[in-house]
Structure formats: C-alpha cells, structure tokens
C-alpha cells in the first residue's frame, strides 16, 4: 500500500515537470531529472517501508579505515 503511494507521488512529480522540459526540447535536463527521480523513488520506497539498506556512509568508513589505523599507529593510541 505505502509502496504504491510513494510510486504514485513519484509519478505525480514527474507529471508536473517533465512535459514542460520535453516540450522545450531540453534533453539534458530531462535525462538528469528522470534519472534523479528514479533513484529518489527507489530510496523513498525503502524509506517509507523502513526496510534495511546499507548506509552510503559505509563507503566513507571503507575509505578512511586505513588512514585512521595509520594515524593510530603513529600517535600510539
């Protein structure tokens, strides 16, 4: 039910902006807009259902884990 609601909201959002963009032949805007809307709808569905999903901050943790260990080795903490 709630999934359907979110998807309907996404369709409405697309309905508001996309026709104008296509009519003005702004293809780059249309492409960026629709890909962003697809990603947004995907994450909103996950958020609205409170499903578990790996946090994007794990990328940051993965990047800085060696740095942190290196610094901890130097300072001896």
């Amino acid at each position: 039910m709630i999934t359907v609601t979110v998807i309907v909201v996404g369709v409405i959002v697309g309905w508001i902006d996309l026709p104008g963009l296509i009519r003005r032949k702004e293809w780059k805007e249309t492409a960026v807009y629709s890909s962003m809307l697809l990603v947004a709808t995907f994450f909103s569905v996950i958020a609205a259902n409170l499903w578990e999903f790996p946090s994007p901050l794990y990328i940051i943790m993965w990047i800085y884990e060696p740095v942190n260990q290196f610094l901890a080795n130097i300072t001896g903490t």
Partner: protein, 367 residues
C-alpha cells in the same frame, strides 16, 4: 548564471553564522568532549582563531575566482575530468549532509519530544520545509536568516546565563590530565566541525554582491558562531562534567532541562530545541541548495530549480538510509566523519589554493 538573486553582506554573514551554529549546538559538546575530556573548553577556545583562519582561506579561494562556484573553480584549475571527480565528491557530501541533518532532526524529535510520532512524518515535514525554502531562492533564505538570527542568539545566551547558579568549577580539574594527542584531536574537531562544514559557502559566494567589508564580516560571523559553541561546551562541562557531557547524546538539551530559577523559570527545553531546529533548518537548506546548484553546474543545465522535487524526494529517502540507528551518526561514524571533513574542509581547498598559486607563479615566470 544559474541564480539571479543577490545576497547582501549582512545576509551572507548571518547565513554563515547559522551554518556554523546549525546542527552543532546539540552534538558538538559531546563530540569534542569525547576527544579532549575535561580540557575540551581549552580546545574550543583555541579553535576560534584557527577557524577564522580557515574561513579566510575559503573566502580567499572564492575571491580569487570571482563569479565562479566550487564546481567551476575545480574544473578550471584541475582540468575537466579531475575537476568533475572532485565535484562529485563534494556533491556526495552535500547530499549526505542534508540527509544527515534531516535524520538528526527526526531522531531528536522522535526520541525526546514527539515520542509516539513515526520518524517518517517528521522527516517528511522537515524536507517539505527545506524544499520550500530552497524553491524560494537564495535571497529569501538570506532575509529569513536575518530575521531569525536574534531568536537563536538570545536562546543560547539565556541558556548560558541561567545555568550560572549550577556551575561547579571542580569539574574542569585536573587540567594536566590529557595527553598532547587528545588535545590536538580536540583542536582539529573544534576547527573542522563548525567551520569546515561551511564549505557550501563556496557555492553561494558567486551569488553575493561584492560590497566592502564582505570578507571581514563573514570571518567575524564565523568566529562569533564558534565562540557561541565554545561557550556551550564550557557551560556544559562546568555543569554536567566531562563524563556526562561525553556520554549524553544531546548534551545541550539535557542542560536546558536543568535550568530552574526559583522553582519558577524552568522547563524551557522546548525553546532550546526550537533554536536548534531553526539553525539546523538553515544549514540543511544551504546544503540542499548547494547540491542542486552543483548538479546543475556539473551537467551544465540551464536552471537548477527544476531539480527541486526529485532532490527533495532523494533527501527524504536518503535520510532514512543514511544511518541504521540513532547512535550510528553520533558515535560510530564520528572518527571517519572527522577525517572526511578534514579532507573536504582543509586538504582539498588547500590543494586548490596551491594549484592556483603555482599556476600564477609559472605564468609570471614564463612572461
């Protein structure tokens, strides 16, 4: 030019102040105390001039490239593809920043004030509000921040002064207990958390009017904001002590619950929460604005405002995905977040400055 509006110097300064204060009021005392223990107030005070220096570097970077935002600066000086990569890194930070602030608002409200409201509702309301603000444009944000600034300052001052009867100086002792590394970490946090996170100011600098004293006023605003935070850290150390400050997630909120003057003036924590919400609102709005303008600049779109609705939906989705639980943002991620902020706030702008100075030098030699 993507945005037509023009910010005045005073509005830019108030926005900077809001960005320094925003979101830090609640979590900054516990983060800095977890590094420097009872000497956190010294670190916070040392961080004020250093933070003003960092702000001066941001402004110098903006002033050396008038009329260009961060994406354009990076592309101009590093070349197209490295600049794009750097911009993507920054845009990721802006998106995650907005989502994190939204999530913090949701977590705070559902755990302390509206305990039976689902977090999605709070998040949705906050996202709609920041979306409306970003839709109205930069000038409106600046004027609104001018209007709401006194409320925030007065609330912080009331909080600090009403707690003076409960001060216990022995909480600050012993002074010589912490080692040098912890002190250095505390100083780094006191620079990078409040001032380093104002990096989106580089995205709004091109849309401000170039008036006299702009640099001075903005640096002064950053210093003032940092001073307010140092005051909060000091008062929470004096009243709660290092242990309680470190281990309570919302230290300032607990502080405001402790205010009781003559059994009459008490329970003003909702006012404190309001002032935190106002400042966080501005910070999240600037981050959302920077994200939209950055995306529009990255793909060379004609206008950014059309991206508003998907961006808001993305922030709503990300706000839930960004952290599995409440303690993730406040405890688990903090060491990595400090590194990330250091990279984005000090190292990469410093790298850009170096490249620019180097290019100028080479040009002057070859002439």
């Amino acid at each position: 030019m993507l945005e037509q509006g023009r910010l005045g110097t005073r509005q830019l300064a108030t926005l900077t102040f809001m960005m320094v204060i925003g979101d830090m009021m609640l979590i900054y005392p516990s983060v800095i105390t977890s590094y420097a223990k009872q000497n956190a107030w010294i670190c916070a005070l040392i961080g004020i001039p250093l933070g003003m220096g960092l702000m001066a570097m941001f402004l110098k970077l903006g002033n050396m490239n008038p009329g260009e935002n961060l994406v354009q600066i990076a592309r101009k000086h590093l070349g197209f593809w490295p600049g794009t990569l750097l911009s993507c890194f920054y845009l990721f930070f802006f998106l995650i920043g907005t989502s994190t602030h939204t999530r913090e608002v949701g977590d705070f409200m559902t755990s302390q004030i509206f305990q039976y409201t689902p977090i999605r509702i709070i998040t949705l309301m906050f996202v709609i509000t920041i979306g409306w603000g970003a839709y109205k444009g930069l000038e409106t944000m600046g004027r609104t921040s001018e209007l709401l600034l006194p409320i925030v300052i007065v609330f912080i001052l009331v909080l600090s002064f009403c707690l003076l009867p409960k001060v216990d100086v022995s909480n600050l002792k012993p002074v010589t207990d912490t080692d040098t590394v912890s002190i250095m970490q505390g100083i780094l946090v006191s620079i990078i958390y409040p001032v380093g996170e104002t990096i989106p100011i580089l995205m709004i600098l091109p849309y401000t009017a170039r008036q006299a004293h702009r640099t001075r006023d903005v640096i002064f605003a950053a210093g003032l904001g940092n001073l307010m935070l140092a005051m909060l850290v000091t008062i929470s150390l004096l009243v709660l002590g290092a242990f309680l400050t470190q281990h309570s997630i919302y230290a300032s909120f607990i502080l405001s619950q402790k205010i009781s003057i003559g059994g009459f003036f008490e329970r003003i924590e909702a006012i404190m929460a309001t002032s935190w919400l106002i400042s966080t609102y501005f910070k999240a709005m600037i981050y959302l604005f920077a994200f939209m303008v950055g995306i529009a600049e990255l793909f060379k779109l004609k206008h950014y405002r059309v991206l508003l609705l998907p961006a808001c939906m993305l922030v709503f989705g990300m706000a839930n995905v960004v952290a599995p639980n409440l303690t993730f943002i406040v405890i688990t991620i903090v060491p990595y977040w400090v590194d990330w902020d250091t990279t984005l706030g000090i190292l990469l702008p410093g790298l850009l400055m170096l490249v620019m100075v180097f290019k100028k030098r080479i040009k002057s030699i070859s002439n």
